[in-house]
């Protein structure tokens, strides 16, 4: 955990400061921090791959897998 925090601090200290009015590109809809997959796509991945997680949140299960 300490290594992760130090890593984040080190990484962000090397990042360029970005003022609010310089974030036009970041506000583009394709720049969302979340997944751009459709609901059907996410379900397909969930049931056809043996791995799960990484969506940044939690969801309900199903009897599919």
């Amino acid at each position: 955990m300490q290594a992760a925090v130090l890593g984040i601090v080190a990484f962000t200290s090397g990042c360029a400061p970005v003022a609010p009015y310089e974030r036009g590109k970041l506000a583009h809809p394709t720049m969302s921090a979340g997944s751009l997959s459709t609901m059907g796509e996410e379900h397909l991945h969930a049931i056809s791959e043996g791995a799960t997680g990484g969506s940044g949140g939690t969801g309900s299960g199903c009897g599919c897998n």
Partner: protein
């Protein structure tokens, strides 16, 4: 505070040899005006700041006067105070504007409420330059007697007024009255007074001249102390007075150069001139042939600096501008048109979004799925709240794509998946709740979760934490849950962070941990057993008929471990280029059943047109099998009974496999305001099973059609 650092770097830290021009003043003023006619009234505050940022970019190239630079800063502070309600930042930016041009004022029509409050605080906190107060001066009324030592009563009257003004710190007025007194009677003492007031008023050139006179003439009049003081002040002022070098053009007739309206003799051009600190305006005119050529430039002179200005005379109609982008922005009439220049933003009171999706899947394993879904979300960006919901229906030919349809009877089943979520922001802190369910005749899953995130470092870093709880009931079709079911509990935690790496890049990373307890063994999945002598000879992909021929007679149900911890480490990079976005995701997975996996997903979204977006999509997933995975499990009949592996499974997704998806999509923005969207994406899916019975590979296709609308 990050705002202030960047804004200060725009205009504050300029080298002493900086050269300014007002060539782009008109374009930048039009840009500022367009911000407060278009974006600001529509509450599109991010877009407003983007435009002002562009104006600052132009000014950074040294092509704006101090007057216009100050206006840009006032524009930014107005958006901060009036739009984004960031008073503290607004005050600091107003202070910078006042520093840039003490005479700057608020934008007409945007000078009330929180904007005025921030402006007033900025003005109170910072003196507007040197305390120069040039009020109207009194006239000598006449009829007075000159006191001893004075030749004229008039000179004495003005001298007294100068003293009063000095006591009141009205140094400009003091200079004026002292000048009036010297005009009536030239006295060294009055010159010394004028020098002191001029120095305090920032009129250093006047002060230098007077100090020099006093230091030279004072000793002869017996004013030794005064002369000595004047000499000390003269030396100190000489060291810090700004020096200006005006280099004349190579050829120009009738050249006339002025500094703040005062003519500079041509024989002084090219040499060092003393100039008062602060903003100065240099103008020049001349003739080249028959054409009148002019020059105008504002320059800010700093203490101790030496500034050289090349006087480049140009025809009055000639402008040196780089207004390709400026013109593009000026002509933008909507957010999407602005996006074509510098990208989209957000900002309106309440946004409502509705989407309808129809997706389908078919594969070579006789599985077909149709999934219609609807979703909605309501959000108030300015008030910081939102909620949404979704409802998906899965109509499948088999309950899942993991069961070999040819090995078991086909059936059609319908699964319902409702979901709701909501969030509220408290300053930089965001709290969200969510819940969902999956309802089938033989499986019920209910989940709820809470998530929190906080914006740090001027919203450059956003760590988040989520917890979810799931309660699943697994039964058998046709049998009530109360008669037969197993309960599965799931606790999950997700810790992530989103980082703004630079103006075009967002990096997201995190860790998901899922702790699952309960028997997840499928009540329909039978695992073929083989004799220990035969199992090693069973090849991967052996067809059902051959399996039936060589397997043992018993029908053995799947049995999985009842505890499972699952971990996923994930990262995502999204990078915005001029007209496209590249995204790549990576997930590394491990669980206590021994499955290890890597999943890589990438998309490259191209804005080929303000209304059309295209993207290719690639996905690759590789995984090992669970520790207990076997191609062919063995059973043995002994005197004690049937010996079986304690843990056995036929779940294909627990075996080693490779899966690849490739495809793409297209989205059309429709409607006058482009708030309707119609998107279609499709992927071909190939899965290679590396150590499985019944199947070696599977080809599939997935497609989704999405219609969505945003209403503000």
């Amino acid at each position: 505070m990050g705002v202030l650092v960047v804004i200060a770097s725009w205009f504050g830290a300029r080298p002493a040899l900086a050269q300014d021009t007002s060539a782009n003043d008109a374009e930048v003023e039009v840009l500022i005006q367009s911000v407060f006619e278009a974006e600001y009234p529509k509450k599109q505050f991010v877009e407003a700041l983007e435009k002002l940022q562009l104006a600052s970019t132009v000014c950074q190239e040294g092509s704006c006067s101090a007057k216009v630079r100050a206006k840009v800063l006032v524009g930014v502070a107005t958006v901060l105070a009036g739009g984004l309600k960031q008073e503290k930042d607004a005050i600091e930016v107003f202070k910078l504007a006042i520093e840039e041009n003490p005479k700057v004022d608020l934008i007409k029509g945007f000078d009330k409420g929180p904007i005025k409050q921030a402006w007033d605080k900025a003005r109170k906190a910072k003196p507007t330059g040197p305390p120069v107060v040039d009020q109207e001066r009194k006239k000598y009324p006449g009829g007075m007697r000159a006191p001893r030592g004075w030749k004229t009563a008039e000179a004495h009257f003005y001298f007294q007024e100068a003293i009063k003004a000095q006591d009141d710190r009205a140094f400009g007025l003091c200079v004026g009255y002292a000048g009036d007194s010297i005009g009536a009677e030239d006295r060294v003492g009055t010159k010394f007074l004028r020098a002191q007031c001029a120095e305090s008023a920032g009129r250093w050139v006047q002060a230098l001249a007077d100090y020099e006179t006093v230091s030279e003439q004072g000793p002869a009049l017996g004013m030794h102390d005064t002369a000595k003081t004047a000499k000390t002040k003269l030396d100190a002022l000489r060291a810090k007075v700004p020096k200006l070098v005006l280099r004349p053009p190579a050829r120009a007739d009738n050249l006339e150069v002025s500094l703040d309206g005062e003519r500079v003799p041509n024989d002084r051009l090219g040499g060092e001139l003393w100039a008062d600190p602060g903003q100065r305006r240099i103008t020049a005119s001349g003739k080249v042939g028959d054409q009148t050529v002019t020059f105008e430039r504002d320059v800010t002179l700093e203490e101790g600096s030496t500034t050289a200005i090349d006087i480049k005379l140009v025809p009055a109609s000639s402008r040196v501008t780089d207004n390709r982008i400026l013109k593009c922005l000026e002509e933008s009439k909507s957010r999407e048109e602005l996006a074509a220049c510098i990208g989209e933003g957000t900002g309106s009171e309440i946004n409502v979004g509705v989407s309808v999706e129809l997706s389908g899947y078919i594969d070579s394993d006789n599985t077909e799925v149709i999934s219609p879904a609807v979703g909605f979300n309501v959000e108030s960006p300015t008030d910081g709240w939102g909620f949404g919901g979704s409802f998906l229906v899965d109509v499948v030919s088999t309950a899942s794509t993991d069961i070999v349809a040819s090995a078991s009877p086909r059936w059609t089943e319908v699964r319902y998946v409702p979901g709701i979520n909501g969030f509220k922001k408290f300053g930089d802190f965001k709290l969200g709740l969510g819940g969902g369910a999956s309802i089938e005749p033989d499986y019920l899953s209910i989940a709820a979760g809470i998530n929190a995130s906080v914006d740090l470092l001027d919203k450059r870093v956003t760590p988040s934490l989520a917890y979810g709880f799931g309660y699943d009931l697994q039964g058998r079709a046709g049998t009530k849950f109360s008669t037969f079911s197993t309960t599965i509990y799931q606790n999950s935690v997700d810790a992530g962070v989103s980082i703004v790496a630079d103006k075009s890049t967002v990096v997201t990373a995190g860790l998901t941990a899922i702790f699952q307890t309960g028997d997840t063994s499928k009540p329909y999945r039978y695992v073929p057993m083989f004799d220990p002598d035969i199992a090693p000879l069973v090849p991967a992909g052996l067809a059902k008929e051959e399996v039936d021929r060589v397997r043992n007679g018993e029908r053995v149900l799947e049995q999985l471990p009842t505890d499972r911890q699952r971990y996923a480490l994930y990262g995502r990079v999204a990078h915005r280029l001029e007209h496209s976005t590249f995204r790549i995701d990576e997930r590394l997975y491990y669980d206590t059943w021994g499955v290890k996996a890597s999943t890589t997903d990438s998309m490259w979204l191209f804005d080929v047109d303000p209304r059309v977006r295209l993207w290719p999509h690639l996905r690759a997933h590789v995984q090992t099998g669970a520790d207990f995975w076997q191609l062919a499990y063995t059973s043995r009949r002994t005197t004690a009974g049937l010996e079986l592996p304690n843990v056995r499974t036929g779940d294909r997704e627990l075996g080693p496999l490779l899966a690849f998806s490739g495809g793409g999509g297209v989205r059309f923005a429709l409607g006058e305001e482009k708030n309707w969207g119609l998107a279609f994406n499709a992927d071909a899916v190939y899965t290679r099973y590396l150590n499985h019975l019944f199947i070696i590979e599977r080809w599939g296709g997935f497609g989704a059609l999405v219609a969505e609308v945003d209403i503000e």
